[in-house]
């Protein structure tokens, strides 16, 4: 028996050795890119990015920036789903070996990263930058942290409203006028269900949707509710008000009356079926979304495009509860510098270069977001994107939600509360209680007003 084992061990060892050797040898043929620029080893700046379109947009800017600053840029691909992206990023930040430069995708995430000490201060560099004055007010406000310092720079803006199938509503004889208030919006959804049998309005919800449930769903209605802002100036969070309960009530009506799809929202990647399949197919008539949907979800870069998208998909601003309307603007592609980066100054310069007109327009082309700077309107490539031009002009009229430390907890709390609504386990007041309890549990009783 000894001999057999020995022989077997030798065989396995040889095979393993052969594979390893083959791997090592073939791997050696790939040199590294270091030193390609000036013969002397140029410093390497590592940037984290995820999702193919963003990586493509980033790659467009890289050659220019490398030449301009004399650095080598390495793009590290991170997992695509938002939650996984953040988990990995935060684990690495905690371990101190995160890339030099990365984005936070929702303004909800940044304040917590600041208070965790992960981000480097960039106030001086940003204020001295030529683009600072060209930023929209919103972008400036979103970039400034609670202590008045700037830790991250908002390079793009998400403009979110309600998108609907104008062609299909016209066909069914349903009015496409701007809904006047929440009741009107709900009635419209009910009408859609009654006349066409399809889902009337989707609001992102549930744990699987992650932060999107808050930023792309709940938060849109805050401005028009009885609680127009959640973050108070003293750092506490306004979660006990009627407004929050009313928004959950809106969700509850949509869910209980079967006006929005529920099953897909209970699984991972819940937006895939409703937004990429149901909406183009006409099984879902309206959903909250942002300008990126014109390009990425239903337009020229989509796998399932809606034909003639700018004509057939219209937008409504988000109605207020008792009237009025708002268009929510939030930050996106918020670049931040790792506080532990080995090349702080160079990384900050790369960051500013990525907020240039050319870079932001590249992202706009591939993702459909709006550049955060006014002068993007003068860029020829941007002007070619006719769907986005009018939106850029109107950015100053949008509303935005003040962000505060603890917002990531609020996001998760809203996700849990809406999950309970999705599973029909509670009512609006109950959902609010879930949210408040979660935030209190994690941030302390004093955090919630």
């Amino acid at each position: 028996m000894k001999a057999t084992v020995l022989r077997a061990g030798v065989v396995v060892g040889l095979i393993a050795g052969a594979i390893a050797a083959a791997v090592v040898i073939s791997r050696a043929r790939f040199g590294s890119r270091e030193g390609a620029i000036s013969g002397v080893s140029a410093p390497t700046i590592r940037i984290a990015e995820h999702r193919q379109p963003r990586i493509d947009a980033l790659n467009k800017s890289i050659p220019r920036i490398e030449k301009q600053l004399g650095v080598v840029i390495e793009v590290v691909e991170y997992p695509a789903p938002e939650k996984d992206y953040l988990s990995k990023l935060l684990t690495e930040l905690g371990a101190g070996n995160a890339p030099d430069l990365f984005t936070a995708n929702f303004d909800a995430d940044v304040p917590d990263m600041v208070s965790a000490g992960y981000l480097a201060v960039i106030t001086a560099e940003v204020k001295a930058w030529e683009g600072y004055e060209k930023l929209f007010e919103v972008a400036k406000k979103l970039s400034i942290g609670a202590d008045g310092q700037i830790y991250a720079l908002d390079s793009m803006l998400l403009v979110e409203q309600i998108y609907f199938r104008r062609d299909l509503l016209d066909k069914a004889g349903i009015s496409t006028a701007q809904p006047a208030n929440w009741k009107d919006l709900l009635d419209r959804a009910r009408e859609i269900k009654a006349k066409t049998g399809k889902y009337g309005l989707l609001l992102p919800a549930g744990i699987g949707w992650g932060a999107g449930g808050f930023t792309e769903g709940f938060a849109l209605f805050v401005a028009g509710s009885k609680t127009p802002q959640i973050a108070n100036d003293d750092g506490t969070l306004n979660l006990n008000g009627e407004g929050v309960r009313d928004i959950f009530g809106l969700y509850k009506s949509l869910i209980d009356e079967d006006l929005m799809p529920i099953k897909p929202l209970l699984g991972p990647e819940p937006w895939v079926i409703p937004k990429y399949t149901m909406f183009p197919a006409g099984d879902l008539m309206a959903t909250t979304c942002g300008t990126w949907c014109y390009i990425y979800d239903w337009g020229k870069d989509s796998k399932n495009p809606v034909p003639d998208v700018t004509k057939n998909v219209g937008t409504w601003a988000v109605p207020g509860m008792d009237g009025g309307s708002s268009v929510k603007i939030s930050g996106s592609n918020i670049w931040a510098v790792n506080a532990n980066s080995a090349h702080l100054n160079l990384t900050k310069k790369v960051l500013l270069a990525l907020c240039s007109v050319d870079s932001t327009v590249a992202y706009a082309q591939l993702l459909g977001n709006i550049p955060a700077r006014r002068d993007a309107a003068d860029n020829k490539d941007f002007q070619a994107m006719t769907e986005l031009v009018p939106v850029l002009k109107n950015v100053d009229n949008g509303t935005y939600l003040k962000s505060a430390p603890g917002f990531s907890v609020v996001s998760e709390g809203v996700a849990r509360a809406t999950e309970a609504l999705l599973r029909k386990q509670t009512d609006a007041a109950g959902a609010q209680a879930i949210l408040v309890k979660y935030v209190k549990d994690l941030l302390g009783d004093n955090a919630v007003k």
């Binding site: 917590d112 208070s115 965790a116 992960y118 549930g206 744990i207």
Partner: protein, 294 residues
Amino acid sequence: MAMTYETRMAWQNRMLLVPAMVLLGCFILIPAAAAIYISFTNAALNGFAASHPQFVGLKNYVRLFSDEGFWNSLIVTFYFVFGSSIVGQFVLGLASAIALSRPIAFKPVFNAAILLPNAVPEVVAGFIWISMLGGGKYSTLSRIVGLFGIAPQNWLESVPLLMIIVVNTWRGIAFAMILMTSGLSAVPAEVYEAARMDGATPSQIFWRITLPLLRPTIFLYMLVSTAGTIAIFGLIYTLTRGGPGGATEIIGIYIYNQSFTAYQLGYGSAVAVIVLGVSVAIGAIYARVLKVQV
């Protein structure tokens, strides 16, 4: 020689064990103890607590008791362990062991087939079962049951818990079979002979003789298998990530999600401490049954 033979041997033995002790101590024992400490803090991956974790006493445990997610996970884990390990793997494993204890042709083939699910890495197992179960009417399972007239469905969404029980049963039959085979082989053939001569039917032989004689083996199997099933992570994570709305969030996945997806390291540790406690209890029973001796 300064030392006697005995002392030299004793010293050598101790030295030989030092590396093992260091590894086990650093990477298992200390973390186990640290879990208890961390569970009393509000350590987190993000937010203020990430850089300044604070001692919060029993707060995490209090939160545990009122957290639906925790109880849901416990219930899911219970069904999972009971269904796949106590029932599924055991029954199929025992039956296989009995079937293969007879003179049967192609024994190595059957043996290999039953062992294969256990031999493959977890991720691959999860991956191939996605093809079996996911995808609605195109999944292999849907096509098979279609032959029997059952409607095709997205199995991982409609009956997720049942599905992971099936998958884990599939994976663990080999373990049960091997243990039962060894247990069966300890039953002397004369016992069966005597029973047959007394006119016992096969069913009587099984229930009145085989099973009682197997009892110690079965008990040990249950212990080890339960402990092992509680520890499962990769298989289910690959398959469902914790399932639609937490329907398959076994305790291992729950801990991982709370710690790394919701960033609450302190809370995750509190759950972990409870799981550790249960495991230690199982281990203690196991050790006693084994009668660990010098």
